[in-house]
Every structure is written in C-alpha cells, then in structure tokens.
C-alpha cells in the first residue's frame, strides 16, 4: 500500500496556499510538480558536478559525463529499450517529434503519406504539416467516434502503398483516451510501415516497454513525469536512427570536421548537437527512479481510483457533459457544465485554489470534432487525493450556483 501523505511530503509546492486556500493541483497533464529529490539533484549537479561533458580531460568533466550517460541508461531501462544508442535526449516531446519529422522526413518524397489520428496534440500534427509544405507529403487522419474512441477499422482504409509512417498518441491529452497502439503497430508492420508513438501522457501513468510495444519511434517529456522542464527523450530503433540523417548540426554530433567534408558521430550523439542539458538529464533520471520506487503499477492503480471517483462525483451534476468517454481512459477528465464557458468555470475554481486547465488543450481538431470551443480538464498525478477531488467538486457546485445553472 503506498502512503500518499508520505509522497505528498516530498513535494514542497503542495503546501503552498493560493489566494489563502490550499493548492489543489489538477493540471498535471500540462506539467507535474517535482519532488525534493529531483530538485536536489539539480542543485547537486550545479554545486558539485558542473562541467561540459564528453571528451573532457579533467575530473569534473568526467564526473559530469558519467552522470549524463548514467541518466541515459536510466531512461533506457525505464522504457526497456535494447540499447542506449536508441535513446536520444531532446528538450521534450515536441522537439522529439520535430526531429523525426525532419530527419525521417528527409527520406520522403512528394505524394508520400503520413497517418496521424484526429485526437493528436498539435505537436503531433504541425510538424507533419510543415513536412508536407517542405516535401509535398500528404497527411491522412484516423477519425474517432462520439465517445472519443479511435476508429481503428478506418486505419485499414487509410493505409496505402504510399503510407510511410503512422504517428499516434498512446494517451490523448484532451480526452484521456488510451489508444490500442499495439494493434496499430501490428497493422502498420504488416505493411512494412514504421510507427511513432507519442508517449507524453502515457509514460507518467502506464508501464511502457519498447521491446514489447515494438514501436519504431517513441517520444516523451521529462516535465510530465515529475522531472524538470527542458529535457525529454526520443527512442528510435537503432536501424532507423542509423538510416535517417542528423537533425541539427554542430558540436558533439560530429566525428571529423573539415571545410571539405564533415562526418558524423555514432549513435546516440549523432542526434545531440551542442551542449546537452547534462544537469537536467540527471534530474530526469532521478524522477524515473522516484517513479520506480513507488512502482508505476501502483501509480496507475491510484490514479485509476481517482479518475473513477472524479467521474462518479461529476456525474451527479445533471448538466455535466463529459468529453472523452472511452471505456479505456487514463489520468484525466475533460468536461463541460451546462452552458458555463470553461474559462469562467476555471476562473472560479482558480479563486478556490483549484488548478485545472481550460480551453482547447493544444488539440483544436478535437474541439472542432465535438463542436465546442474548449473544455475544463482536471488531470491527476500520484500526489492527488480523494479529499482534493471533494474540494474540486464543491468548487464546481459553487460555480454552478454562481452561473445560475
């Protein structure tokens, strides 16, 4: 049995007051709070181990390099990738997807097709649109139904001899829908098509295993799993990362440089130009260790309990409308209350110390599909409690009265 109060004690920000009221932080899909251990790792890095990494002759540089590469190994182990050659540090999910769109995109030609789902975050739509403008590739979209469940049968109709990549989210940030990515990968691989899985909202909540999943590319952000902002990872199967050209050029990703010809470094450095965030990487590793110490299955179970409880309580409002009603959901609930504009509801909850997110959640196509401008989204993490949901529900109740609904 995990001790939630003990976990909460690791997160100093949870004792903060907002407008004189205790903070109820339900915006974890946007970013998570950080435990002391992660922040102390950053402090330790800058106070004890700060030096540029790789090819350094002095002690601090070697310490920093070891710590950074140990962090890479921690990421590899966390997602069970085969090799650290397959772990590229990036600034986060968005940069990781842009890297693949750019580098993998280099291999594509006019008329080649990329398939994404209708429930993607803008970060898994716009890079492919930009690729389309650069290379003349075509973007096709797997639709979802009125419950926010992906119409997986439509994928078969969308796949064509020109399909070169399928890029799909494992958990949709606006709906909470958990997609059948294994099934998608199986269908894709049957046609020799690689798959990129966006794990930004799955990694904090579900056990992910690259060897079991068999994704060709997988991306996630550190700041969504109790790690710092500015660091994330791209997993790529070694065969793919060898095949595709580098993304950014510069120091660190080279082998030999002359003005006549430059050769590139081996994996993973080929895709890591410039000085990396070698302090952030160690903090990310610490966050992953923190998650492992609790156990991702325990986190999933706790959050599932919270999600069910929140759902049950929200259902008591006669004018509640849930956006995203997949039977398989993770981590969040998106909803509307009568005709109250989400921005108004969010503003009232804010004044009660409750942090939720309102609007389109960087998923405008999802909102368009539902014919709405946005939703109120409450998203959970390991440190949230049933008591906090009670406060949240009381807040929604208060807002309902204030807006005369």
């Amino acid at each position: 049995m995990i001790d939630i109060q003990k976990i909460r004690a690791d997160f100093p920000i949870l004792s903060e007051k907002v407008y004189g009221k205790p903070l109820v932080y339900f915006d974890n899909a946007a970013t998570t709070q950080k435990p002391r251990q992660v922040v102390e790792k950053i402090e330790e890095g800058y106070y004890k181990r700060n030096a540029n990494i790789h090819r350094g002759v002095h002690f601090l540089s070697q310490e920093a390099t070891e710590a950074h590469e140990a962090a890479r190994e921690e990421v590899r182990a966390f997602i069970n990738a085969k090799s650290t050659n397959e772990i590229i540090f990036t600034r986060g999910t968005t940069e990781a997807i842009n890297l693949v769109a750019s580098s993998f995109g280099e291999l594509l030609q006019e008329g080649d097709e990329i398939i994404v789902s209708h429930m993607e975050h803008h970060s898994n739509i716009v890079p492919w649109q930009m690729l389309g403008l650069r290379k003349g590739t075509v973007l096709k979209v797997i639709p979802f139904d009125e419950k926010g469940v992906l119409k997986i049968d439509e994928l078969d109709k969308l796949i064509s001899p020109k399909t070169k990549l399928i890029s799909c989210t494992q958990v949709a940030n606006s709906l909470g829908t958990v997609n059948p990515v294994k099934e998608i990968i199986a269908k894709a691989h049957a046609h020799g098509i690689p798959v990129l899985v966006d794990g930004a909202q799955s990694v904090p909540h579900i056990k992910v295993d690259m060897q079991e999943l068999d994704a060709d590319f997988f991306v996630f952000s550190g700041h969504k799993i109790y790690g710092p902002t500015g660091i994330g990872a791209l997993y790529g199967k070694e065969e793919w990362l060898e095949k595709i050209p580098p993304y950014q050029g510069g120091g660190e990703m080279i082998d030999k440089v002359t003005f006549e010809k430059t050769t590139y470094a081996a994996l993973p450095f080929k895709f890591e130009a410039g000085t990396p965030d070698f302090i952030g990487s160690t903090a990310l590793a610490e966050a992953l260790r923190y998650v492992n110490a609790i156990g991702i299955e325990n986190i999933a179970a706790h959050e599932h309990m919270l999600l069910e409880y929140a759902h049950e309580k929200l259902e008591q409002f006669d004018n509640i409308r849930f956006i995203g009603e997949s039977p398989n959901k993770s981590g969040l609930v998106s909803f509307l209350l009568g005709t109250v504009h989400p921005y108004d509801l969010g503003s009232i909850l804010d004044k009660l110390g409750i942090a939720v997110r309102t609007g389109h959640h960087c998923a405008q196509p999802v909102m368009d599909a539902f014919g709405i401008e946005g939703t109120v989204r409450a998203s959970f993490a390991i440190y949230n409690t049933k008591e906090e949901i009670d406060i949240f529900i009381a807040g929604v109740e208060r807002a309902k009265k204030m807006f005369r609904q």
Partner: protein, 140 residues
C-alpha cells in the same frame, strides 16, 4: 447622472463584498442581466479577441450621445463589459474621451484579474474610447 457618479455607484455596490467570489458573482449577475448586442453587430469588426473569451462591442451616436452595447461568450468578461457600458453609455464623445475609469481599480478589478483578463478589459476600454474619438472626429 455623470460618468463619475455612475462609477461611484458601482464602487458602493462592491464595497461590502470582501470575498472575491462575491465580487465575481456581482460581475456575473450584471452580465447576465444585460441586453447584449444586436445580432447585426456580431461580426469580426466588432470583436475584441481575448485569449479564451470573445467580446463584441458596438457604439451608436444618438442625439449627440454614444450608446454602447457589449456582449461576451463568457459570463465574467460579459459582466465587466456590461459595467463599462453602464458607466460610459449615454454621454458625449468628449465626456467619454476625458473619462478616468477609476472604478476599475477601486473595486479591485486590476489586481484580482489574471493578466489575460486584465488585458482583455483594457482592450474593451480602449475600444470604447476609440469609438468616442471616431464619433468626435465625425462631428467635426
């Protein structure tokens, strides 16, 4: 009533509301009781776009006085717009141009609104004053 008398009335209304949620309630109620804007004015020309709120503002000159209309798709912004209409409507362009909208700060709107909302409110005030300037220029 003068613009300042109307402002003082609003300040009095808010004076005994300590809790910010009670102030929000007052703002929401004002918006809900407003007539909004005529359908013909719900065009992009009359739209002041905030981040998550839409506010339409229109102005007509009637017997040398400006009559404003305002409406929002969100209740809190709608209430703020309604208060501005209440204060500024029915006055000459010059009176509006000269008006110092001190009630906004005095009821605590400036410090308690998020930066986005505060910017939205400033945009509404600016638009209403721009209408006054335009009407004044027309009058010659």
């Amino acid at each position: 009533m003068t613009i300042d008398e109307k402002q003082d009335d609003i300040i009095a209304e808010f004076e005994f509301l300590d809790d910010w949620l009670d102030k929000y309630q007052q703002i929401i109620d004002k918006g809900m009781s407003s007539k909004g804007v005529d359908e013909k004015y719900k065009t992009p020309d009359h739209l002041i776009e905030g981040c998550q709120s839409k506010v339409w503002v229109a102005a007509d000159l009637v017997d040398g006085k400006i009559i404003y209309q305002a409406e929002s798709n969100t209740d809190i912004a709608g209430g703020i717009a309604t208060m501005l209409v209440e204060v500024l409507s029915g006055h000459t362009p010059q009176e509006i141009i000269d008006a110092d909208l001190y009630f906004v700060e005095q009821i605590g709107l400036k410090e308690h609104l998020s930066p986005t909302r505060a910017n939205g409110m400033l945009a509404m005030m600016k638009q209403m004053k721009l209408y006054a300037l335009a009407f004044k220029a027309q009058q010659g």
